[in-house]
Subunit: 574 residues, 2 copies
Amino acid sequence: MRQNRMILPTLREVPKEAEVTSHKLMLRAGLVRQLVAGVYTYLPLGLRVLKKIENIVREEMNKSGAQELQMSVLQPAELWHETGRWDDYGPELVRLKDRHSRDFVLGPTHEEVITSLIKQEINSYKKLPINVYQIQTKFRDERRPRFGLMRGREFLMKDAYSFHTSYESLSETYDEMYKTYNAIFNRVGLKFRPVQANAGAIGGSGRNHEFMVLADVGEDTIAICDHCDYAANLEQAEAHGAEVAAAGAAPSTEAPAFEKIHTPNTKTIDQLVSTLGLEAQTFFKTLLYVVDDKPVAVVVRGDHEVNELKLKDLFDAKTLELADDATIERVTGAPTGFIGPVGLKNTALVVDKAVAGVQVGVAGANERDYHLQNVVPGRDFALERVADIRNVVEGDTCPSCKEGKIEFYRGIECGHIFELGTKYSVPINATFLDENQKAQTMIMGCYGIGVSRIMSAVLEQSHDDNGIVWPLSIAPFQVHLIPVNVKDETQVKVAEQLYTRLQQQGIEVLMDDRDERAGVKFKDSDLIGLPVRVTVGKMAGDGIVEFKVRQTGESKELTLEQAFEEITGLVLGQ
Amino acid sequence: MRQNRMILPTLREVPKEAEVTSHKLMLRAGLVRQLVAGVYTYLPLGLRVLKKIENIVREEMNKSGAQELQMSVLQPAELWHETGRWDDYGPELVRLKDRHSRDFVLGPTHEEVITSLIKQEINSYKKLPINVYQIQTKFRDERRPRFGLMRGREFLMKDAYSFHTSYESLSETYDEMYKTYNAIFNRVGLKFRPVQANAGAIGGSGRNHEFMVLADVGEDTIAICDHCDYAANLEQAEAHGAEVAAAGAAPSTEAPAFEKIHTPNTKTIDQLVSTLGLEAQTFFKTLLYVVDDKPVAVVVRGDHEVNELKLKDLFDAKTLELADDATIERVTGAPTGFIGPVGLKNTALVVDKAVAGVQVGVAGANERDYHLQNVVPGRDFALERVADIRNVVEGDTCPSCKEGKIEFYRGIECGHIFELGTKYSVPINATFLDENQKAQTMIMGCYGIGVSRIMSAVLEQSHDDNGIVWPLSIAPFQVHLIPVNVKDETQVKVAEQLYTRLQQQGIEVLMDDRDERAGVKFKDSDLIGLPVRVTVGKMAGDGIVEFKVRQTGESKELTLEQAFEEITGLVLGQ
C-alpha cells in the first residue's frame, strides 16, 4: 500500500489522554483514534493488525475442531432473566429498549443465547460433544474505561462454548482449548502464563485458567514460582503449608503469661511496629468480618493480608464484608484497632495457617488503647479453625514444587477458559437424550479471548524508545519500503520495481511515497515498527539499497537481488 | 468439513414464521436461526456464505483503491445532534443511555463519525481524495422486521465514504464505485440493475443509484426499458415527453363547448368509467394538495397517478399533503370527488404533461354531483404550469432511448451509491486547506451494500423446487461428498481419500459422514445446494463415483481420477 494516500496520521507528541505505553503507541503510530471514552475507531493500520490476530485465533480454533458461527449483538432480556444474570450483572451490562419498549442487552458474552440455541438444535448424545465459537464485537459499560484497547466499552472477543455428555468429555475439550490457547498466544508473539484463576461473573464449577500476558501495566497480580511452572492469580494462589509446620507442635512453654501493654492511639500494624520496635510478622492482626450476617474474627500475621475470596469459600458464604465500627464495639467491647483473638466471645474465630506457626506474639487486647504481649497461639486462643485465608507474598515457598519461591508479576488477562458445568444448562434446561433415551443435562465449557486487547498487550511487550517492534506474525505490513527522495527518478523507479516484485511474492509492503524529509520518514518508520525496512537512497543508481531489521537494528547495504532474497527468506520462511 | 458433528439442522417442514422463499430456504437449509424478530444467528453454513460475500466486497473495494477501517457501533448522540439526524431519524434509530446517562445510538450508518474523523485527521488538499470503508454490523429498529435477512434489525453492511476537493473528483470516485458495485453484484451471481433513485434519509445533492436485485418479493417497483438499459425507481422514473407532443398544438376546435352532466354520487374514476362508459384516460383527474401551507390543484389523466415526490421537487417544498375535505370545500366550493380544473380559483394549478396532450375530456364541475364533458385543455383551463408530475406506467415510452417501452419489475435494494455533496461536511465543519491555504468545505460521497441482504437476494434468485442452487462464488462449500453407506468400509475409504485429496487442492468439501438413509442424504444435499455432488456408492469398489452438477442436474458416472479432474476444472478454473 502507498503511504501518501493512507490514513496513517502519526503523532510526534504523546497524547495527553494516554497513560500507558501501548495506548500512547497506538495513538502515535496511527493505529486507532478514540471516539468517546472506551470506544475506538481502528484506522487502516490498526485494523490490519486486528484482522491478523483474528485470523490466527480463527485458524487455531478451526484446527482444534471448533465450528465458527455468529450470534447477534442484540439479546432479549428474557434470556438473561432465565439465568438470573439480568439482576446479577450490574451496570456493566448495556441495556436498551426497542421501539416496542421490549428490553434488550448488548451482548458482553453469549452463554444464554448459545445454550438456548443448542437446546433447540441438538438433542442426541450422538451429536455431542461440540465446540462452537464466534469472533464478535462485544459491549461492557466499564465504570472507568482506560488504557486504550485494554479496557474498552466496545471490543472484539472470540468466545467459544462447548457442550458435553459428561465431565470427562468436557475435560478433554478443556485440555484441547488449553493447548489451542497456548498456540494462539505463542503465534501472536506474546510472553504469557496460563494462570489458575477464579471464575468471576461467568461462574462455574470446575477448572479455570486465565492466560496472562506479563506486563507492568497489567491490572492483575500473578504469583509465579521461580522454579516450576506454577502460576496463579494472587487471590487464588495457595499458601504453602511449610510455614505452619510448627502448627502441630506444642505451644511455646518458654513464654511467660501474656500481659497488657499500654498502646494509646496505636491502631495499625505500622504504628505498632514503630512504637514497639518489633517485626510486623510478630503481630496477630485480627479483623472482624460479617459473613452471611454472622460475625467472624479472622487472625493473620501482621505482615499478611486476608484473602476474602478464600474466606468466602471457607464458609461457602453468599455475602462477606468487613464489620463496621459499631459491630466491632458490640462484639469485642473495644473500638476498631484493638481487636485480638484472646478472650474473644460472641464470634466465630478463624486462624490463618501462618499464625498457627508463630510461637509467641502481640495481639489487640479488645480494650481501648491496650494490646497484649507474650500471646501464644493454642495456649491463649483456640486453634480450632485453622485454614489458608491469606494472600501469598513474595518469597513464600511454592505450593506446587515446594522448592521454588513465589514471585509477583503483573499480568494482562487476554484469555480465559472455564469448565462451566451446568451453570447455564440447568436454568435454560438444555438437555440431550442419552443412549437410553433419557434426558440428561448438558455439561458446558466456555473459552474467551480478548482479540483487541491482544493488540494492546503486544504493544506493551514489543516496543523500544523509538516506537513499536511488531512481531512478524501480526505486523500490519511486513516491509516498509522507503524511497528517500520521491523527486529522484532513479530512487522512485528502483522502489517501484521492488514494490511490485515483493507484492507478487505475496509480501505485504508499505511504501512511503510521501514527499517528506528523510528524517521524518525514518522517525515514522521506527514508530510504526514494521519488521523490515528497505531504504532506497543515493546508491539506488548502483542498485544498492539499505536493509534493516527493526527488532535487532541490524542494518546492511545489499544489492537489489540480495535484498529481495533476504526479505523473502525472512518473511516467507517464517 | 464433516457433516456429522456440524450444526447443520435441516428442516423438512416449511417454518411458519417464513413468508418468502429465501427465508424458508435459509431456515430449512440450516443457514440461520431467528433469536427474536429481525435478529438472527448465523449457523456455520450461513456464516460461510456471509464471509464469502464479505470477502468479494472487500476484494473489489480494495481493488478500487478504497481503504478499510472500522468504526465503532456505539456513537455519541452529540454527533447526531450536530447534523440534526437525532431528531430526523425517527424510531428506527436505536438509542440507549450509558451508565452515566449519556445518550448513544447504535450506528445504522456512519456519516457523522467518519466526517468527524476525517475532519480531525486530514486537512490538506494533498491528502484528498480518499475513500474509506468498513464492513460492520449495523442496527435499525424496523417497525416490521421481515423476510429473514432482507429486512432485519441487526445486519451486516459495507459502508464507504469518500472525501473530495471538488465535485469533479467526487464524480470520478462515484463512477469508480458504480463500476465496483457492478463487479461485486456480478461476482456474487445476481441478476440486478443499477437504478436511478431518490436519496431518502441519507440525503444529498447529486446523483444516486440503487443496485436492485430483480425478484418478485422485492419491496420496490422499478421501471425498466425493454430496449435500452434505462432503469429507475418508480417514484424517480421520468415520463417521456412523447405523449405530450400535442401539448404545443392548438386546442381542439372540433369540440363543442363544455357542458354539465349529472353524475350523482359518482366520485371516483372507476365509478365514472362504468357510469359513462368512457376510457379512464379521457378523464382529467384533479386532486387538491396543500404544499407548504398553500393549496395546489393537480391534474393528471384518469389512468395515471400523481407522483408526490415529483410534485414536491417541482415546488421545492418542505411539506406536501393531500388537502382534507374541509379545505377542498373551502377552495373549490364542492365536496371531495367533484373537483376539476375548469373555473377553479383560489389555488395554483399544475397540469401533468400527459393531460396537456389530451384533446378533449371529462372533469369534475366543482359542484356536488356534477361533472363537465367536452373539456378542452388550454381552452377551458390554463396550461400555464405543465410538468411531469405522474408515475410512469407500464407501456410508457422509455424517456432515455425513446424507442423501448417501460416494464415494471420488483427489486430488492442491495446497494446504494450517493453523491452526498456537503450535507454532512457543512454541519460538522469538515474543511481542508486548498492550494492557497484557504479553508474549503469537503465534498462527500457515500456507498452502501447490504452484505447480509445479498444472501437473501441470492436465494430468491437461485433455487428450484428441491432447494438452494448456490452460485460457485459464494457456495458455503464447493463440493458435497456423500458416501451413501458409512458402514461400508470401501465407500468410506474411497470417500476419505477423495476428501483429503480435494482439500489438498484448496477445494472446500462438505462430507456427509452421517449414518442416515441415502434418501435423507440426497434430499438434504439438494436442499443445501452445493454446486457439485459426488456420490460414493455401490460402485466404489470399482473406483466409480457419481458426479452431479446441482445447477443443471447433469449427472454422470466417473472414475475417481475423472471425478477429481472434473471437480478441479470446475471449481478452480472458475
